[in-house]
């Protein structure tokens, strides 16, 4: 139960103009799909239909790849880096100018709280275009040799958890390096990518440099398999990543994969307790836990277990679940009925396997897809909720006694995307950071992102890095 009552503070959606139906963005223009069925995208908070979107079939994929190829060969590849940079700067500025509109649209289509889409997603989206714009005319200094060359046409398939941010992570470095792209957003969150297509038009980006095709798994598969594609970049589940790695086997296609995670967030007894509780909450409840690097396994040193748990539960009781467009909302809607079913299933398995489940008292809206912030205690390493990615606001708590035990438990997973360490002792932080087999280690913070900072996984969390000059290398031949 909330300690204070808040008056509703809804952000207006009047700023967004959603069309009733959208075509595909190919060769600089919106066109009708030729061989796919249209589908609807809904607001997960209300199940209201927002728009009808086209499904790109194989013929549409082919058109998009050909448009990208032509643009690569005739315009974008030969263009001076200086001019590619200016286009990317223009895009960054247009995103900033339209950021409020894009944030509202993102929250409507994805279900994430406006507080996060406005204060986290959109600033980072613009920042990625700014950062990579500056690389476009400096590629020879990026560490990929003296004369790095673009790869050609990049096929990019992105997930629904950060629709516009994942688009920026993919498109900005690809274009800076001189590639052209065909991007497929997730079927449940296509609207901001289509708004981005308009931004490409406003920026006068040459036709074919960016192509956006909507659809589900089949469209993505057709895109990844297309022979005209030189590079595949995918963010999503490990299962699909594995399938893509098999698909590209034996082809000349380069591939980078950002896949799942099951991050350990490790709390030592000397951790700064207030910041730590905020960090735990941010680690797992940010974006409804729809984060591949979410701190979904909390490892607490036994000596402070009781205190951490009590404070965590108290803090969780103040989290506000509800309307994503309300500025006071901390936790928005689960992105889809399908995802909600998976979260429910795994949570039930957690109970069935003997873990104790707790959620604060919290009234969920009757329409839409909702799941309360949830914590499981008494979790062992063998439990499925400690091994499988849940991708929802569900935290599993384990304990440890020694730093060595914490390391062993943290590394005991096929994933290796991220980890958190909470302690005041600097030498221990660096020791832990050395031992943890994860691509990102946050010490006394969690879920921080920045375009200058490489991000990506070890082991089955995929290969390649996004962000920084390392993210650029993924789009360059050297």
């Amino acid at each position: 139960m909330s300690r204070f009552e808040y008056a509703p503070a809804p952000e207006s959606r009047a700023i967004v103009d959603i069309k009733s139906s959208y075509g595909l963005f190919i060769n600089g223009a919106f066109t009708e799909a030729t061989d796919g069925k249209p589908f609807k995208t809904v607001s997960p908070a209300s199940e209201e239909v927002l728009a009808e979107v086209s499904e790109a079939g194989p013929a549409d994929v082919d058109r998009a790849v050909k448009a990208a190829r032509k643009a690569y060969e005739k315009v974008w590849g030969p263009m001076a880096g200086r001019d590619r940079a200016k286009y990317l700067y223009r895009i960054a500025r247009l995103i900033q100018e339209r950021s409020r509109e894009l944030a509202v649209l993102e929250s409507l289509d994805n279900g994430k709280p406006i507080r996060e889409s406005r204060d986290v997603d959109l600033p980072l989206v613009a920042a990625h275009f700014f950062y990579y714009a500056g690389w476009a005319d400096k590629l020879e200094y990026a560490g990929a040799g003296p004369d790095p060359q673009p790869l050609g046409v990049a096929a990019q398939v992105i997930p629904w958890n950060f629709p516009l941010m994942m688009l920026a992570w993919k498109i900005a470095p690809a274009l800076a390096a001189g590639n052209t792209v065909v991007l497929k957003p997730a079927e449940t969150t296509p609207l901001t990518a289509l708004a981005f297509a308009e931004i490409c038009q406003q920026a006068d980006l040459p036709p074919g440099v960016v192509n956006i095709i909507t659809g589900a798994g089949r469209t993505g598969q057709a895109l990844v398999e297309h022979e005209g594609v030189d590079k595949v970049a995918f963010t999503g589940s490990t299962a699909v990543g594995r399938a893509i790695a098999k698909t590209v086997a034996g082809t000349p296609k380069k591939v980078t994969l950002e896949l799942g995670g099951k991050a350990a967030n490790i709390v030592f007894e000397d951790a700064p307790i207030d910041q730590t509780i905020e960090g735990i909450v941010n680690g797992i409840f940010f974006n409804q836990g729809h984060v591949c690097c979410a701190g979904s396994r909390l490892l607490v040193q036994e000596s402070v277990y009781d205190e951490v748990l009590a404070r965590l539960k108290r803090r969780m009781s103040t989290l506000r679940v509800g309307d994503p467009l309300d500025k006071n909302t901390d936790i928005g809607a689960i992105n889809s009925a399908e995802q909600l079913a998976r979260i429910r299933e795994l949570s039930q398995i957690g109970e069935d396997e003997g873990s104790e489940r707790w959620s604060p008292e919290c009234e969920l809206p009757t329409q839409g897809f909702w799941f309360p912030p949830t914590v499981f205690t008494g979790v062992s390493q063998a439990h499925r909720i400690a091994r499988e990615e849940i991708f929802g606001p569900v935290l599993s708590v384990l304990t440890f006694r020694t730093p060595q035990e914490a390391v062993e438990k943290a590394n005991n997973t096929p994933f290796g995307l991220s980890a958190g360490v909470w302690t005041e002792k600097g030498s221990r932080i660096l020791w832990m950071a050395n031992q943890l087999r994860a691509g990102v280690v946050w010490a006394n913070t969690f879920n921080r992102f920045d375009p200058t900072s490489p991000f990506g996984g070890y082991k089955e969390s995929g290969y390649g890095r996004e962000g920084g000059r390392h993210g650029l290398e993924a789009y360059l031949a050297h």
Partner: protein, 292 residues
Amino acid sequence: MPTKSDPARLDVRKTYKLYVGGAFPRSESGRSYVVSDAKGKFLANASQASRKDARDAVVAARKAFGGWSARTAYNRGQVLYRIAEVMEGRHEQFSAEVASSEGLSISKARAVVDASIDRWVWYAGWADKLAQVVGSSNPVAGPYFDFSLPEATGVVAVLAPQDSSLLGLTSVIAPAIVSGNTVVAVTSFERPLPAVTLGEVMATSDVPGGVVNILTGSATEIGPWLASHSDVNAIDLAGITDHDEATELEAASAENLKRVRRPADEDWTESPGLSRLTQYLELKTVWHPIGL
């Protein structure tokens, strides 16, 4: 190798074995196969490694990984340089084996051995420079200290080049181990002898047992077991010349998302560049708040 120095004396011929976990076992399968020189003359019976040998080698490599990757870069560089030193002392033996294996004149074989030794020296120098060249300090927009460091990816399976028995082998093993990975290498099938001698060099040059494991035998037979092995983190397909075979190995490697180095036309005499070195690296980014 038979030596020709004293016609009155009968040679002591060498038994060529596998090199696994710092020891020199024969294949557990008890198999061996005939190795001939370029003209078809019998040279030796080499051990023919089996699936079990490959698995034993992966176990040895995994066991060695923690210690090897935790060594200081300075120390790893010295160990690699030590390999070059010990090879130099065995120059004649390597030259004779390369000459007979690859059908080269002795002077050309000597040049190959020179290049192989020099390559170890080149990679030795990278050990303590990698983090400076490949890592970064990241100017994030906020009060955080944020840096990225390269780290070894783990156990690397290497299907070594078929033609270049020593220089090619060196060129695929050295970049993997210099950063702290451990290696299971399947040698050239028809030209395995220099590889066995390289194993003997490893055993006597401060390389911890298990860091490099050398299997003589068929990459076609053993490759699929290594590609599908869940405790192998990366695979180098340099020695696979058949496209379909390479495709199958790459597809099998997808199961645990191994890092795959695809086969390519490579000139082993050229300066290798950094791409093979960075192929077996992960990049770890560490964030910490800055404040009072």
